[in-house]
């Protein structure tokens, strides 16, 4: 490829990177919460995001609801789904070796994806609500991505505010620091686990709802989001919640830069090499070992 790279292109890449980065941060925050509180990598996180996207799609196509108004509905539906999953299956592997939790959530993930294929078929579906871009000087801002950015920013901010200032949020952080001490302080750890799983699923659902307006959705869209979210929390430091924010931005930028300088196929390789390097050099993430 002999494409001349201009400063305007770099600027555009940075804009696109930040716009998608916040979305990554929000979805990955869910995975980070589950990992921090329950020490489980939830492989079904991406498929839960897919269910959120389908919830929005059906509310839009069947009832003609404004897709952005369905975001809270998707979140509520998936919150309940997350709590039910935790209550019935996931709580059984909280203290088990990581193989058990990885496989269990993988089993859930296969069941969700296949169930969605049976129920919704594998056809690509799109929520064609808003298209086009706002142009500002040399830069283009895709409308749906900007709106997703704003939503994700508010929701992520809200989640941080919740974790920081409310009693429940503090209980979640306490449980992720030390489950035993949290129990001694009278925190119902089982309830916190359910709440965390529900909250994480709701964040994934918000991601899915917003994505459904940007690109076409299909039952297998979720798996890549599990991997990306994991990459984000490794970049930021597992169990380090502000780190997820930074990691999401970084991943967004790296992906866009990689697609500018390399082909899209190789950007996955770049992401992987980065993952292994960060794990080896700074296993506690770029922000260091501080928890919560």
């Amino acid at each position: 490829m002999n494409i001349v790279i201009t400063p305007a292109m770099i600027g555009q890449v940075i804009i696109s990177g930040i716009l998608s980065g916040v979305l990554y941060s929000m979805v990955a925050l869910g995975l980070a919460l589950i990992f921090g509180v329950m020490r489980i990598i939830n492989v079904a996180h991406g498929p839960l995001l897919m269910l959120g996207a389908y919830t929005t799609f059906f509310l839009y196509s069947a009832f003609g609801l404004n897709p952005y108004l369905t975001v809270p509905i998707s979140m509520a539906v998936l919150f309940v789904a997350g709590v039910v999953l935790e209550r019935t299956l996931v709580f059984r592997v909280v203290d088990a070796p990581e193989l058990s939790s990885l496989l269990l959530t993988f089993g859930i993930s296969i069941a969700l994806v296949n169930g969605a294929q049976l129920a919704f078929t594998s056809d690509l579906r799109a929520v064609e609500y808003i298209t086009g871009s706002w142009v500002l000087g040399p830069f283009a801002f895709s409308k749906s991505r900007v709106i997703a950015f704003v939503f994700a920013g508010f929701l992520t901010g809200g989640a941080f505010l919740f974790l920081r200032s409310t009693r429940l949020g503090k209980a979640i952080r306490a449980t992720s620091q030390s489950r035993e001490v949290a129990m001694v302080c009278g925190i119902d750890v089982g309830k916190i686990h359910r709440l965390t799983f529900g909250l994480a699923s709701a964040l994934a659902a918000a991601g899915g709802a917003l994505i459904s307006v940007i690109v076409a959705i299909q039952p297998e869209m979720g798996q890549i989001w599990t991997f990306k979210s994991f990459l984000v929390i490794v970049l930021g430091g597992a169990g380090n919640y502000p780190g997820a924010l930074l990691g999401g931005m970084l991943l967004g930028l790296i992906e866009q830069l990689a697609s500018l300088f390399l082909t899209t196929q190789l950007s996955e390789v770049v992401a992987y090499v980065l993952l292994v390097l960060v794990l080896l050099v700074r296993p506690t993430g770029l922000l260091g070992g501080r928890q919560t």
Binding site: E98, L103, V269, L279
Partner: protein, 306 residues
């Protein structure tokens, strides 16, 4: 081993060796696949069952072996037995190269790094189209070699199982299991843990590499999506767990039982097959994490090398 058990084993082996003379094409292909699953599950067991390092992307070695053999056969014109050996060696080299950094990672990080490795190999194979045919796949010259491949796969399965028997009965195997129980304590006892893990990882990669090469030759056509599926990794893990991880015969038992079950479900309910597969995974993890042989070991005081 008791004489009765030994006799039964020899009988089964003789029966399997004579099977191509009487079996149908479908039957032969099915037994061939059962051999493949035994080799894959047994190999996964060597690294993950013994050391506790969960390789969540073991199919990467299968795919690497398939592509090594595929390229050597299609482009360099090698005969398939030699290409198969080369594929085993290539998978071993890949294991050494990847194990170097990745075996220093702990717990879920190793698991996800291996998962990523598989995705990366698939991306690389798609990218280097000149060599691999990219997404169009790679075709090999037609050749009817099902019977020789049947024997080669059978020998591979046998070698993996016999190798596991030797390792589990040896001091090397004991050291690997020490790493599984407590790596820091193993290190403190003077076990060079990293080197042991690396050797176990190397051994666990060769079987899948050979199985991949044989499968590629048997099918005559490979493409990135068909040789790097995550589902294959999960299947070998679930088979090993079902039979009993860390045992010699667990992977064999799990592979045979689940493969037969899968074939019967496949034939009848193709649509809900993955859904059932997901349910089986959940059931195995929740109901029998030690596997059949693990439960029997607890109950009847079987020898460690069962």
């Amino acid at each position: 081993m008791r004489p009765a058990v030994l006799a039964a084993l020899v009988l089964v082996l003789v029966a399997l060796a004579c099977y191509p003379a009487v079996g149908t094409g479908y039957g032969l292909r099915s037994v061939l696949q059962a051999f493949m699953w035994i080799a894959l599950a047994g190999s996964w067991n060597l690294i993950s069952g013994l050391t506790g390092y969960v390789s969540f992307g073991h199919v990467a070695f299968f795919g690497a072996g398939a592509y090594t053999a595929g390229i050597l056969i299609a482009s360099a014109g090698w005969s398939w037995p030699i290409a198969t050996l080369a594929a085993g060696a290539a998978a071993g080299v890949l294991a050494l190269a990847i194990g170097g950094p990745c075996l220093r990672l702990k717990g879920p990080y190793f698991a996800i790094a291996m998962l990523g490795l598989n995705e990366v190999l698939r991306a690389l194979v798609s990218y280097f189209e000149g060599l691999t045919g990219g997404g169009n796949g790679l075709s090999m010259p037609t050749l009817d070699a099902t019977v020789p491949i049947y024997y080669a796969m059978g020998v591979t399965a046998l070698a993996v199982t016999f190798g596991a028997r030797l390792i589990i009965g040896s001091r090397f195997g004991l050291r690997l299991m020490t790493i599984r129980e407590d790596e820091v304590a193993a290190e403190a006892m003077g076990i060079p843990t990293f080197r042991h893990k690396l050797v176990a990882f190397l051994l666990s990669a060769i079987g899948p590499g050979i199985a991949g090469a044989l499968t590629a030759r048997d099918q005559g056509y490979i493409e990135p999506l068909s040789v790097f599926p995550l589902a294959t990794t999960i299947t070998m893990i679930v088979m090993t767990l079902f039979g009993g991880k860390g045992t010699v015969w667990g992977p064999v038992l799990g592979a045979v039982v689940l493969f037969v079950a899968q074939e019967m479900v496949w034939a009848r309910y193709p649509y809900i097959h993955p859904l059932l597969f997901g349910a089986i995974i959940v059931a195995v993890v929740l109901a029998m994490p030690r596997g059949i042989l693990g439960l029997l070991q607890l109950k009847y005081r079987l020898p460690r090398t069962v």
